[in-house]
Protein backbone atom coordinates (compact mmCIF):
# COMPACT_ATOMS: atom_id res chain seq x y z
CA UNK A 1 0.00 0.00 0.00
CA UNK A 2 2.83 2.37 0.93
CA UNK A 3 4.63 1.55 -2.37
CA UNK A 4 1.46 2.25 -4.34
CA UNK A 5 1.06 5.61 -2.57
CA UNK A 6 4.67 6.46 -3.41
CA UNK A 7 4.17 5.79 -7.13
CA UNK A 8 0.94 7.72 -7.14
CA UNK A 9 2.92 10.60 -5.65
CA UNK A 10 5.55 10.21 -8.38
CA UNK A 11 2.81 10.41 -11.02
CA UNK A 12 1.29 13.54 -9.49
CA UNK A 13 4.77 15.10 -9.18
CA UNK A 14 5.40 14.44 -12.89
CA UNK A 15 2.05 16.02 -13.85
CA UNK A 16 2.84 19.05 -11.69
CA UNK A 17 6.24 19.32 -13.40
CA UNK A 18 4.62 19.33 -16.85
CA UNK A 19 2.18 22.04 -15.68
CA UNK A 20 5.12 24.01 -14.30
CA UNK A 21 6.92 23.77 -17.67
CA UNK A 22 3.75 24.94 -19.43
CA UNK A 23 3.64 28.02 -17.18
CA UNK A 24 7.31 28.74 -17.83
CA UNK A 25 7.03 28.37 -21.59
CA UNK A 26 3.60 29.86 -22.26
CA UNK A 27 2.82 32.50 -19.66
CA UNK A 28 3.50 36.19 -20.17
CA UNK A 29 4.42 38.21 -23.20
CA UNK A 30 8.04 39.24 -23.55
CA UNK A 31 7.65 41.97 -26.15
CA UNK A 32 5.18 43.84 -24.00
CA UNK A 33 6.96 43.17 -20.73
CA UNK A 34 8.68 45.86 -18.74
CA UNK A 35 12.06 44.23 -19.34
CA UNK A 36 12.13 45.10 -23.00
CA UNK A 37 10.98 48.21 -24.73
CA UNK A 38 10.29 47.39 -28.35
CA UNK A 39 9.20 49.76 -31.05
CA UNK A 40 9.85 48.59 -34.59
Amino acid sequence: MRTLDFWKGVGVGAILFVLFLAILFFSGDLSASKFIYVDF
Binding site: R2, D5, F6, W7, K8, G9, V10, G11, V12, G13, A14, L16, F17, F20, L21, L24, F25, F26, G28, D29, L30, S31, A32, K34, F35, I36, Y37, V38, D39, F40
Partner: protein, 352 residues
Protein backbone atom coordinates in the same frame (compact mmCIF):
# COMPACT_ATOMS: atom_id res chain seq x y z
CA UNK B 1 -6.16 9.24 -2.96
CA UNK B 2 -4.55 9.62 0.47
CA UNK B 3 -2.22 12.52 1.07
CA UNK B 4 0.10 10.64 3.39
CA UNK B 5 3.85 11.15 3.87
CA UNK B 6 4.79 8.42 1.35
CA UNK B 7 2.64 10.03 -1.35
CA UNK B 8 4.07 13.48 -0.68
CA UNK B 9 7.63 12.09 -0.72
CA UNK B 10 6.97 10.50 -4.14
CA UNK B 11 5.53 13.76 -5.51
CA UNK B 12 8.42 15.82 -4.08
CA UNK B 13 11.12 13.50 -5.44
CA UNK B 14 9.46 13.27 -8.83
CA UNK B 15 8.91 17.03 -9.25
CA UNK B 16 12.34 18.16 -8.05
CA UNK B 17 14.10 15.17 -9.66
CA UNK B 18 12.66 16.08 -13.07
CA UNK B 19 13.54 19.73 -12.47
CA UNK B 20 17.14 18.81 -11.63
CA UNK B 21 17.43 16.46 -14.62
CA UNK B 22 16.14 19.14 -17.01
CA UNK B 23 18.58 21.69 -15.57
CA UNK B 24 21.52 19.27 -15.91
CA UNK B 25 20.49 18.43 -19.49
CA UNK B 26 20.35 22.12 -20.44
CA UNK B 27 23.60 22.97 -18.66
CA UNK B 28 25.30 20.25 -20.73
CA UNK B 29 23.71 21.12 -24.08
CA UNK B 30 23.46 24.95 -24.06
CA UNK B 31 27.27 25.53 -24.10
CA UNK B 32 27.57 23.34 -27.20
CA UNK B 33 25.35 25.82 -29.08
CA UNK B 34 23.03 23.04 -30.26
CA UNK B 35 19.83 24.99 -29.42
CA UNK B 36 21.05 28.12 -31.23
CA UNK B 37 21.90 26.09 -34.32
CA UNK B 38 18.55 24.33 -34.49
CA UNK B 39 16.22 27.17 -33.53
CA UNK B 40 16.21 30.72 -34.82
CA UNK B 41 16.11 32.92 -31.74
CA UNK B 42 17.12 36.01 -33.70
CA UNK B 43 14.78 38.97 -33.59
CA UNK B 44 14.51 39.10 -29.86
CA UNK B 45 16.91 39.20 -26.97
CA UNK B 46 15.53 38.45 -23.57
CA UNK B 47 18.42 38.71 -21.12
CA UNK B 48 22.10 39.44 -20.66
CA UNK B 49 22.66 35.76 -19.89
CA UNK B 50 21.15 34.82 -23.26
CA UNK B 51 23.38 37.34 -25.03
CA UNK B 52 26.48 35.91 -23.34
CA UNK B 53 25.39 32.38 -24.25
CA UNK B 54 25.05 33.38 -27.87
CA UNK B 55 28.45 35.06 -27.87
CA UNK B 56 30.27 32.11 -26.34
CA UNK B 57 28.60 29.36 -28.35
CA UNK B 58 29.40 30.69 -31.82
CA UNK B 59 32.72 29.46 -33.26
CA UNK B 60 35.39 32.10 -32.71
CA UNK B 61 37.27 31.53 -35.92
CA UNK B 62 36.35 33.50 -39.04
CA UNK B 63 33.32 34.93 -37.26
CA UNK B 64 31.23 37.84 -38.51
CA UNK B 65 28.96 39.74 -36.17
CA UNK B 66 25.66 41.09 -37.53
CA UNK B 67 24.15 44.02 -35.65
CA UNK B 68 20.93 45.83 -36.43
CA UNK B 69 17.25 46.08 -35.60
CA UNK B 70 14.11 44.39 -36.93
CA UNK B 71 15.34 44.64 -40.55
CA UNK B 72 17.40 41.53 -39.76
CA UNK B 73 14.51 39.63 -38.21
CA UNK B 74 11.11 38.17 -38.99
CA UNK B 75 8.67 40.54 -37.26
CA UNK B 76 7.45 42.37 -40.38
CA UNK B 77 7.28 39.14 -42.39
CA UNK B 78 5.20 37.52 -39.63
CA UNK B 79 2.93 40.56 -39.33
CA UNK B 80 2.32 40.37 -43.09
CA UNK B 81 1.43 36.69 -42.65
CA UNK B 82 4.12 35.40 -45.00
CA UNK B 83 4.58 31.64 -44.70
CA UNK B 84 7.86 30.31 -43.27
CA UNK B 85 8.78 33.88 -42.32
CA UNK B 86 11.77 32.86 -40.21
CA UNK B 87 13.38 31.19 -43.21
CA UNK B 88 13.12 34.38 -45.28
CA UNK B 89 14.70 36.93 -42.96
CA UNK B 90 17.69 38.99 -44.00
CA UNK B 91 19.61 37.39 -41.14
CA UNK B 92 18.87 33.85 -42.34
CA UNK B 93 19.46 34.48 -46.07
CA UNK B 94 22.65 36.44 -45.38
CA UNK B 95 23.91 33.73 -43.00
CA UNK B 96 23.45 31.10 -45.72
CA UNK B 97 25.37 33.22 -48.22
CA UNK B 98 28.16 34.08 -45.78
CA UNK B 99 28.52 30.47 -44.67
CA UNK B 100 29.11 29.60 -48.33
CA UNK B 101 31.99 32.13 -48.22
CA UNK B 102 33.40 30.38 -45.14
CA UNK B 103 32.11 32.80 -42.49
CA UNK B 104 30.61 31.76 -39.20
CA UNK B 105 27.86 34.28 -38.47
CA UNK B 106 26.39 35.54 -35.23
CA UNK B 107 23.33 37.75 -35.58
CA UNK B 108 22.51 39.92 -32.60
CA UNK B 109 19.95 41.86 -34.60
CA UNK B 110 16.88 42.42 -32.46
CA UNK B 111 13.56 44.18 -32.79
CA UNK B 112 13.54 47.74 -31.53
CA UNK B 113 17.30 48.00 -31.06
CA UNK B 114 18.57 51.56 -30.62
CA UNK B 115 22.02 53.18 -30.58
CA UNK B 116 22.58 52.89 -26.79
CA UNK B 117 21.68 49.18 -27.13
CA UNK B 118 24.41 48.91 -29.77
CA UNK B 119 26.85 50.52 -27.35
CA UNK B 120 26.01 47.88 -24.73
CA UNK B 121 26.14 45.03 -27.25
CA UNK B 122 29.54 46.23 -28.44
CA UNK B 123 30.91 46.15 -24.88
CA UNK B 124 29.71 42.55 -24.53
CA UNK B 125 30.80 41.42 -28.00
CA UNK B 126 34.23 43.08 -27.94
CA UNK B 127 35.24 40.83 -25.04
CA UNK B 128 35.26 38.03 -27.62
CA UNK B 129 35.92 39.96 -30.84
CA UNK B 130 34.79 38.69 -34.21
CA UNK B 131 36.86 38.92 -37.36
CA UNK B 132 34.43 41.40 -38.90
CA UNK B 133 31.34 43.43 -37.99
CA UNK B 134 28.34 44.36 -40.12
CA UNK B 135 26.27 47.13 -38.56
CA UNK B 136 22.92 48.01 -40.10
CA UNK B 137 21.71 51.44 -39.04
CA UNK B 138 18.09 52.39 -39.45
CA UNK B 139 16.55 55.87 -39.67
CA UNK B 140 14.37 55.17 -36.64
CA UNK B 141 17.51 54.79 -34.47
CA UNK B 142 18.17 58.53 -34.90
CA UNK B 143 14.56 59.67 -34.40
CA UNK B 144 13.89 62.43 -31.89
CA UNK B 145 11.54 60.05 -30.01
CA UNK B 146 14.59 58.07 -28.87
CA UNK B 147 17.18 60.77 -28.28
CA UNK B 148 17.05 60.59 -24.49
CA UNK B 149 15.00 59.33 -21.61
CA UNK B 150 14.11 55.72 -20.78
CA UNK B 151 12.76 55.03 -24.30
CA UNK B 152 16.24 55.58 -25.76
CA UNK B 153 17.26 52.08 -24.63
CA UNK B 154 15.20 49.09 -25.72
CA UNK B 155 16.93 46.43 -23.56
CA UNK B 156 17.18 47.50 -19.94
CA UNK B 157 19.57 44.67 -19.13
CA UNK B 158 22.24 46.37 -21.28
CA UNK B 159 22.24 49.42 -19.00
CA UNK B 160 25.10 48.08 -16.88
CA UNK B 161 27.33 47.97 -19.98
CA UNK B 162 26.74 51.61 -20.88
CA UNK B 163 29.09 54.50 -20.19
CA UNK B 164 28.20 56.90 -17.38
CA UNK B 165 27.49 59.59 -19.98
CA UNK B 166 24.94 57.41 -21.78
CA UNK B 167 23.34 56.28 -18.52
CA UNK B 168 22.93 59.92 -17.49
CA UNK B 169 21.29 60.71 -20.84
CA UNK B 170 18.85 57.87 -20.30
CA UNK B 171 17.96 59.29 -16.90
CA UNK B 172 15.57 57.65 -14.52
CA UNK B 173 12.37 56.07 -15.74
CA UNK B 174 9.53 57.98 -14.02
CA UNK B 175 7.43 54.82 -14.11
CA UNK B 176 10.10 52.87 -12.24
CA UNK B 177 9.17 51.90 -8.70
CA UNK B 178 10.97 49.94 -6.01
CA UNK B 179 8.79 46.97 -6.89
CA UNK B 180 9.61 47.17 -10.61
CA UNK B 181 13.36 47.46 -9.87
CA UNK B 182 13.16 44.42 -7.60
CA UNK B 183 11.16 42.56 -10.23
CA UNK B 184 13.79 43.35 -12.92
CA UNK B 185 16.59 42.22 -10.60
CA UNK B 186 14.73 39.01 -9.81
CA UNK B 187 14.18 38.33 -13.53
CA UNK B 188 17.88 38.98 -14.29
CA UNK B 189 18.99 36.74 -11.40
CA UNK B 190 16.70 33.92 -12.57
CA UNK B 191 18.08 34.20 -16.12
CA UNK B 192 21.67 34.25 -14.80
CA UNK B 193 21.45 31.25 -12.50
CA UNK B 194 18.61 29.09 -13.78
CA UNK B 195 19.20 27.84 -17.34
CA UNK B 196 15.71 26.34 -17.71
CA UNK B 197 14.15 29.73 -16.94
CA UNK B 198 16.52 31.51 -19.35
CA UNK B 199 15.80 29.07 -22.17
CA UNK B 200 12.06 29.18 -21.54
CA UNK B 201 12.08 32.97 -21.99
CA UNK B 202 13.93 32.57 -25.28
CA UNK B 203 11.72 29.72 -26.46
CA UNK B 204 8.63 31.87 -25.89
CA UNK B 205 9.83 34.17 -28.66
CA UNK B 206 9.45 31.29 -31.11
CA UNK B 207 5.65 31.33 -30.79
CA UNK B 208 4.73 34.64 -29.14
CA UNK B 209 6.31 36.56 -31.99
CA UNK B 210 6.42 39.49 -32.52
CA UNK B 211 4.00 39.58 -29.56
CA UNK B 212 1.60 37.37 -27.64
CA UNK B 213 -1.31 39.40 -29.06
CA UNK B 214 -0.12 38.66 -32.61
CA UNK B 215 0.11 34.94 -31.76
CA UNK B 216 -3.52 34.80 -30.63
CA UNK B 217 -4.61 36.93 -33.58
CA UNK B 218 -2.96 34.46 -35.98
CA UNK B 219 -4.65 31.61 -34.13
CA UNK B 220 -8.08 33.26 -34.50
CA UNK B 221 -7.43 34.09 -38.15
CA UNK B 222 -6.78 30.40 -38.71
CA UNK B 223 -10.33 29.71 -37.53
CA UNK B 224 -12.42 32.64 -38.72
CA UNK B 225 -10.21 33.97 -41.55
CA UNK B 226 -8.37 37.23 -42.02
CA UNK B 227 -10.15 40.54 -41.64
CA UNK B 228 -9.16 42.71 -44.63
CA UNK B 229 -10.37 45.93 -43.00
CA UNK B 230 -8.12 45.24 -40.04
CA UNK B 231 -4.97 45.09 -42.17
CA UNK B 232 -5.78 48.62 -43.41
CA UNK B 233 -6.19 49.81 -39.82
CA UNK B 234 -2.89 48.15 -38.83
CA UNK B 235 -1.11 49.86 -41.74
CA UNK B 236 -2.61 53.24 -40.81
CA UNK B 237 -1.54 52.74 -37.18
CA UNK B 238 2.00 51.85 -38.28
CA UNK B 239 2.19 54.96 -40.48
CA UNK B 240 1.06 57.11 -37.60
CA UNK B 241 3.67 55.53 -35.33
CA UNK B 242 6.59 55.96 -37.70
CA UNK B 243 5.65 59.32 -39.27
CA UNK B 244 7.78 61.27 -36.81
CA UNK B 245 10.91 59.37 -37.93
CA UNK B 246 10.62 60.83 -41.42
CA UNK B 247 9.07 64.25 -40.88
CA UNK B 248 10.95 67.54 -41.04
CA UNK B 249 13.72 67.62 -38.48
CA UNK B 250 17.48 67.40 -38.46
CA UNK B 251 19.52 64.84 -36.57
CA UNK B 252 21.92 66.27 -34.03
CA UNK B 253 25.36 64.59 -34.20
CA UNK B 254 26.07 65.95 -30.70
CA UNK B 255 23.08 64.15 -29.17
CA UNK B 256 23.53 61.12 -26.86
CA UNK B 257 22.61 58.43 -29.43
CA UNK B 258 25.38 59.64 -31.75
CA UNK B 259 27.83 59.43 -28.86
CA UNK B 260 26.64 55.85 -28.39
CA UNK B 261 27.26 55.23 -32.08
CA UNK B 262 30.82 56.51 -31.65
CA UNK B 263 31.25 54.27 -28.60
CA UNK B 264 29.94 51.36 -30.68
CA UNK B 265 32.69 51.89 -33.24
CA UNK B 266 35.66 52.84 -31.04
CA UNK B 267 36.26 49.33 -29.58
CA UNK B 268 36.38 47.79 -33.06
CA UNK B 269 38.81 50.48 -34.23
CA UNK B 270 41.02 49.77 -31.19
CA UNK B 271 40.84 46.02 -31.83
CA UNK B 272 41.45 46.58 -35.58
CA UNK B 273 38.26 44.72 -36.49
CA UNK B 274 36.93 45.93 -39.88
CA UNK B 275 33.38 47.29 -39.64
CA UNK B 276 30.92 47.77 -42.47
CA UNK B 277 28.22 50.28 -41.53
CA UNK B 278 25.15 50.38 -43.77
CA UNK B 279 22.31 52.87 -43.61
CA UNK B 280 19.63 50.31 -44.35
CA UNK B 281 17.25 50.78 -47.33
CA UNK B 282 14.21 52.98 -46.76
CA UNK B 283 10.91 53.16 -48.60
CA UNK B 284 10.45 56.90 -49.15
CA UNK B 285 7.10 56.38 -50.91
CA UNK B 286 5.49 54.58 -47.96
CA UNK B 287 4.58 57.75 -46.09
CA UNK B 288 3.73 59.78 -49.19
CA UNK B 289 3.65 63.52 -48.51
CA UNK B 290 4.51 62.96 -44.83
CA UNK B 291 8.03 61.99 -45.86
CA UNK B 292 10.27 65.07 -45.73
CA UNK B 293 12.82 64.59 -48.49
CA UNK B 294 15.01 67.68 -47.74
CA UNK B 295 15.49 66.66 -44.08
CA UNK B 296 16.17 63.09 -45.15
CA UNK B 297 18.90 64.19 -47.56
CA UNK B 298 20.51 66.50 -44.97
CA UNK B 299 20.42 63.75 -42.33
CA UNK B 300 22.06 61.28 -44.70
CA UNK B 301 24.83 63.79 -45.34
CA UNK B 302 25.23 64.40 -41.58
CA UNK B 303 25.66 60.68 -40.94
CA UNK B 304 28.16 60.31 -43.79
CA UNK B 305 30.15 63.27 -42.42
CA UNK B 306 30.06 61.82 -38.90
CA UNK B 307 31.41 58.46 -40.09
CA UNK B 308 33.93 59.85 -42.56
CA UNK B 309 36.80 60.20 -39.98
CA UNK B 310 36.42 56.49 -39.17
CA UNK B 311 37.13 55.54 -42.80
CA UNK B 312 40.90 55.44 -42.25
CA UNK B 313 40.41 53.17 -39.23
CA UNK B 314 38.73 50.31 -41.05
CA UNK B 315 35.11 51.51 -40.91
CA UNK B 316 33.40 51.43 -44.30
CA UNK B 317 30.18 53.38 -44.57
CA UNK B 318 27.57 52.60 -47.22
CA UNK B 319 24.45 54.70 -47.60
CA UNK B 320 21.95 52.28 -49.13
CA UNK B 321 18.88 54.16 -47.99
CA UNK B 322 17.71 54.72 -51.59
CA UNK B 323 19.01 51.47 -53.04
CA UNK B 324 15.80 49.50 -53.67
CA UNK B 325 12.50 50.42 -55.34
CA UNK B 326 9.31 50.79 -53.32
CA UNK B 327 7.70 47.48 -54.47
CA UNK B 328 10.57 45.62 -52.74
CA UNK B 329 9.29 46.77 -49.33
CA UNK B 330 6.61 45.50 -46.99
CA UNK B 331 6.48 48.86 -45.18
CA UNK B 332 8.83 51.77 -44.43
CA UNK B 333 12.04 49.76 -44.00
CA UNK B 334 11.34 46.02 -44.00
CA UNK B 335 11.90 44.28 -47.30
CA UNK B 336 9.86 41.53 -48.93
CA UNK B 337 11.40 38.03 -48.98
CA UNK B 338 12.62 38.76 -52.52
CA UNK B 339 14.01 42.11 -51.33
CA UNK B 340 15.82 40.38 -48.47
CA UNK B 341 17.39 38.06 -51.06
CA UNK B 342 18.69 41.05 -53.04
CA UNK B 343 19.87 42.83 -49.92
CA UNK B 344 21.68 39.70 -48.70
CA UNK B 345 23.31 39.24 -52.12
CA UNK B 346 24.56 42.82 -52.11
CA UNK B 347 25.82 42.62 -48.51
CA UNK B 348 27.56 39.31 -49.14
CA UNK B 349 29.25 40.93 -52.15
CA UNK B 350 30.57 43.74 -49.97
CA UNK B 351 31.77 41.35 -47.26
CA UNK B 352 33.70 39.08 -49.66
Amino acid sequence: MTLNKTFLLGAFLSFFGLLALTEIFLRLTVPTGVWYRHFDFSGDMTSLAELRDRLTTTPKEHRILLLGDSVLGASALVEHRLPQARGKTLSRVLTTKLQAQGWSTLSLGSDGLLLPDLEGLTVEASARPPERVLLLLNVRMFASDFVQGPKALSRKFLREDLSTETREALGVDPQETEESILSDQLYAALCDHWVLFRESQMAKTLWYYPSQKDFFQRFLEGIVGQNETQSEIVEAALKQKIASYYQAGLWDPKSPPWKSLRKSLDPWVRLKVPVTVVLTPQNAKYLGRYFDQPSFEKNRKALAAFLQPFAKSGVTYLDWSSRYPSPMFLDHCHLTPEGNGWYADDLAGVLK
